[in-house]
Symmetry: C2
């Protein structure tokens, strides 16, 4: 143990000197085991500091090493689905030196990022994309006559997404050199849901058959001209049996060779199964069983809690690090918009038997654990399946139920057609609780909630609220449920409400007339705008604030108020194109208003940093707003 420790310490240092990933193929078994140990240490010490996904990465240490020993990245292409399990991959492809910059401004991304390394061949911030992507790569290889492999590593959580199935279905009939590694940790994000999870556990419990099958196929795969009569006889029996029973596994039904299950922490077994997988000239699924949190007791015992670990130092958005000793996520979560929403909905659900709550594998993240506990009959975790979640809600609504789909802004993007075609055309009444709306910070481009407003405002029959405090979230939720028809969305940011900014709880707007330039904003930026106005007033600059709570359709009152001013500054924590500022400007022009209008909003994708820093980069911090008002004042003076 002591000796091993010494070795691994040496190896840990050595990681930075190895030619990665190529040198990994030169290591012997003992060295590999020691390397895995040192990787786990790096993961634990770094991620507890930087925040990020700990448990899932602890689970894939051996698998990642085996992949890089058996495939030649970046010529062979490895795609991680979802990408938050790619930390070990980053460490093993020469990024251990920067690993402590994980998820920080200008640091390593928490997800694969082609601009960061040639070993990150496809962006996978959202789940269930890897089979489609890997099949595209494999088909390009085929057309280009390139003999390399495309490997998709898919977590079992990602298997509930329809895109995963679309990819399998399309790839299954091909002759592509596509290998799908099913990383089955039986956990998904909180706890896996749906029939596919049940099905996996069924496969797992029948190792006898599949192992036998694997050996047969393996021998056949390795010796194209079958020598042994025994093997050939065994194969024929299996074939006859299979023909009789239609098919064996779901993956074979879809045209794949199925190998497994294999212990994902047994390096020799992994080496073996991967070399067999490579011997086929057609798509293969390798079923690997891993333990989420492997090697770190607290995470192994409670992987859900260590799925996403916040940063140690509070990033100013009110989220503190989850208490490491706390085992019950139902009580361990700090008060934030999500929990306020969840508790409010639970209370409403007590009075209203029609109320249903739906999540796509984000029960804790969206604060729905309270509703699930209180009203299990009307709570639905549909798995990572945002399309289905919305169509399902629309159907519940068509039956007189009152469904609320709580979802992160970025993942709602998956539901565009279901909101538009399956819900809006029929004018079914559903409520979207859009969590993580606006900047989310460290997860970067793939997770910022910058598109829900542009996306939802293209759809007829949609109303959008953007509350700026907990009490306002509650009144908006209640209005969305009981005053509105069609699709009503209540959007709120990640984290907690602003401190010391008492805002009246409105559902339409609040207006604070101080003459001068009119600031218009909504949601989280309201607090910054309020602070800015206080500073400006103290400096003797006249300035007014129009805070929208109903942001779409833009309230007529808001247009009337705006028309009383000659200079408007619109501040928007959302994309400019298709945003509320753009719509407000158009409305004002249509109404014959001809003052000066400036809009400060996001343009393009926002890179990772703390939420506060991201907001600064958008130019929407309190200081930015003060500066912007002064600039605007000067410009307006110059153009009378």
């Amino acid at each position: 143990m002591n000796k091993e420790r010494q070795f691994s310490v040496k190896r840990q240092t050595a990681l930075q000197d190895l030619k990665l990933p190529d040198d990994l193929r030169t290591l012997d078994h003992t060295q590999c085991i020691a390397l895995c140990e040192s990787i786990r240490r790096i993961l634990i010490s770094t991620v507890l500091k930087t925040g990020g996904h700990l448990a899932s990465n602890l689970g894939v240490v051996e698998l990642t090493l085996a992949l890089h020993r058996n495939f030649h990245s970046p010529q062979d292409r490895i795609i991680w689905d979802v990408g938050h399990q790619a930390y070990v991959h980053k460490i093993l492809t020469g990024r251990v030196g920067e690993f402590q910059t994980l998820r920080q401004e200008n640091g390593l991304s928490g997800f694969p990022k082609p601009s960061e390394s040639p070993h990150d061949c496809f962006i996978t911030g959202h789940s269930s994309t890897a089979v489609s992507a890997a099949f595209g790569i494999a088909e390009a290889f085929r057309i280009q006559g390139d003999p390399h492999y495309a490997v998709a590593v898919v977590g079992d959580g990602a298997m509930t997404g329809g895109l995963f199935y679309e990819g399998l279905n399309n790839a299954g009939k091909s002759r592509s050199k596509l290998i799908v590694i099913l990383n089955d940790n039986n956990q998904a994000i909180s706890k896996n849901v749906g029939a596919i999870a049940k099905y996996l556990s069924k496969i797992r419990s029948s190792t006898g058959y599949v192992r036998a099958k694997w050996s047969v196929e393996r021998v056949i795969g390795k010796t194209p001209a079958i020598g042994s009569k025994l093997v050939s006889g065994l194969k024929n029996t299996k074939d006859r049996l299979r023909k009789n029973i239609v098919q064996t596994t779901l993956f074979e039904d879809l045209g794949f060779v199925y190998l497994g299950p294999v212990d994902g922490h047994d390096l020799e077994a992994l080496d073996e199964v991967l070399s067999v997988a490579k011997s086929y000239q057609r798509p293969v699924v390798v079923h690997v069983q891993t333990i989420k949190g492997k090697g770190y007791a607290p995470a192994e015992e409670n992987p859900g809690e260590y799925h996403g670990v916040p940063r140690t130092s509070s990033s100013g958005n009110g989220l503190s690090r989850i208490d490491l000793d706390e085992k019950n996520p139902e009580v361990s979560v700090d008060e934030c918009y999500s929990t306020v929403f969840g508790k409010a909905l639970t209370a409403l659900g007590k009075r209203d038997q029609k109320l249903c709550a739906v999540t796509a594998a984000m029960k804790y993240g969206t604060g729905l654990q309270f509703f699930a506990a209180a009203h299990p009959d009307r709570f639905f975790d549909v798995g990572i399946a945002e399309q289905h979640a919305v169509t399902f809600c629309s159907a519940l609504a068509s039956m007189g139920m009152l469904p609320v789909f709580a979802v992160y802004s970025t993942f709602l993007q998956r539901s565009y057609d279901q909101i538009l075609h399956d819900t809006a055309i029929a004018d079914n009444h559903i409520v979207l609780a859009v969590d993580r709306a606006g900047i989310v910070g460290e997860d970067g481009e793939t997770h910022q909630g910058m598109f829900d407003i542009p996306m939802l405002t293209t759809i007829p029959n949609v109303k959008i609220y953007s509350p700026a405090s907990y009490p306002e979230l509650e009144v908006c939720l209640s209005a969305a449920l009981y005053q509105d028809q069609g699709i009503a969305a209540v959007r709120y940011p990640r984290g907690s409400q602003p401190v010391n900014i008492p805002l009246p709880a409105e559902t339409v707007l609040s207006h604070q007339d101080g003459g001068g330039i009119l600031l218009i904003t909504f949601g989280r930026i309201s607090a910054n705008a309020s602070k800015a106005i206080r500073i400006l007033h103290e400096n003797g600059t006249a300035c007014s604030l129009l805070r929208l709570v109903t942001v779409f359709p833009i309230p007529e009152t808001a247009i009337r108020i705006a028309m009383q001013y000659q200079s408007i500054l619109f501040l928007e924590e959302s994309e400019a194109s298709g945003g509320i500022g753009e719509k407000m400007a158009a409305k004002l022009l249509y109404s014959g208003w001809n003052g000066s209008f400036r809009c400060r909003a996001a343009e393009g994708f926002i890179r990772q940093s703390t939420a506060d820093r991201c907001i600064e980069q958008l130019g929407l911090s309190t200081d930015d707003i003060v500066r912007l008002v002064k600039e605007t004042e000067q410009n307006d003076d110059r153009t009378p």
Copy 2:
């Protein structure tokens, strides 16, 4: 035969007097057969006149009758996926009298429409939604303590869509009274693709096993306390066998009871299997085999051609009825935007080995049959799987290939997150050939292509072209492929280019200065605007035209030109909210312009009619534009 014919004629008349669908349960077998015959006659004579989906409806005559005899609609809810196979359902639920108004203005919709009848419980213009919808309904029944059934009738084409799988996965573990009828006609829209199709044919060919299984399960289902030792023994053997081999069919893997396959034209077999299906207290899949076009020789022989039948009288959009005797769709299709696109892409593909073409089950509809024939290696029909299509394209692009996804505007809505997250963030270069952009006419709300512009303009790194003629389509396609980066979309309408309107082939814009009011428009409306200006000039009204070809990002030149005018009229065959008019207005205001700006665009969903009538309803016909210019002139005069 003669006697039967007499009877059916009588029955056909009588259909209008029957209390539908309840009286269907009183018919004997002979009456049922006669009824089916008369329904087929109604279908053929009507659809050849009105246009619509003939072959798929001919295939479900017996199935629809059986469903309405075994379930009590509208208490039991039947959902058709995709909804174009619901004509027989409409006839059998009391709408035979209006059936000749199918797909016409104020007539019956070609899809289920809740506002039309309580028997149409869910809108299903897009495919693969029915399991999600039916499961939502079934869960509402459960919560409400209602004993009724939710029935989803899913065509095999819809089975490639990920949403279908998400629904199955979520429903499979439930105890819902959900029955999924798999309407397997082995055709999909053109020809089914993907592993699931192959899989279905495998099941079909193993009827021995599944029939046996069905009988066993059936007896067990009907007699909860099993009497016969034989049956129980048989079941045990099966169970042991199944446990050994992990599972049987894919549907059972996902938690459903599987029954079938059953001959979908055998009324007695259908009655039997449906009554068995109802005996379970959990989700059931009933696999029904039907023949697309059944009972009408031309359609039965060539169902692809009769999938969508255009109206007999040309509707002014240049599409004429497909020649009934023509068997080869590759030569039978009239010249239209789709074929011009398809032929141009095929020619480019000859010179460029990197060029790939992708369709989601719309090879003929999008004009890709030419490319498929010339470059089969680089042609991909992924099935109805628009999410996968885009992610797959993005992956091809990441490998240096040049993929073009040809897709109808309305179906592109399914790919929003794949365009945004899987493609735009990485700035992968793919081309979207957006067919049926703008008004499509008779298919109504669910199929109008009114959202591609609002949707795509919310996504960074997107460029959009809207050509107004065939030559312009070709230059735009070439620019999108070889001059642009990121996502380049070329959108064009259903049908053919305008007659006698020679427009210069541009890729940015064309400007025709005649003073007065500036009309700004793009795409199909350009022709109407040109005509209107000619009329206005003849009447002595000054008027100018700015025709955008690159519509997004709005070219800077367009803003500069617009700022030279004091009155602008923006004409847009697309949704107003998030549209180009709105963005142009905002840009002009930001630039300090303060003239008069009016925008005429679509607001909300556009109901079915001919394309010309729909455009009139938007106020975008030539006459409308002339009138609008005159009105604007008068208004401008009043407000100097």
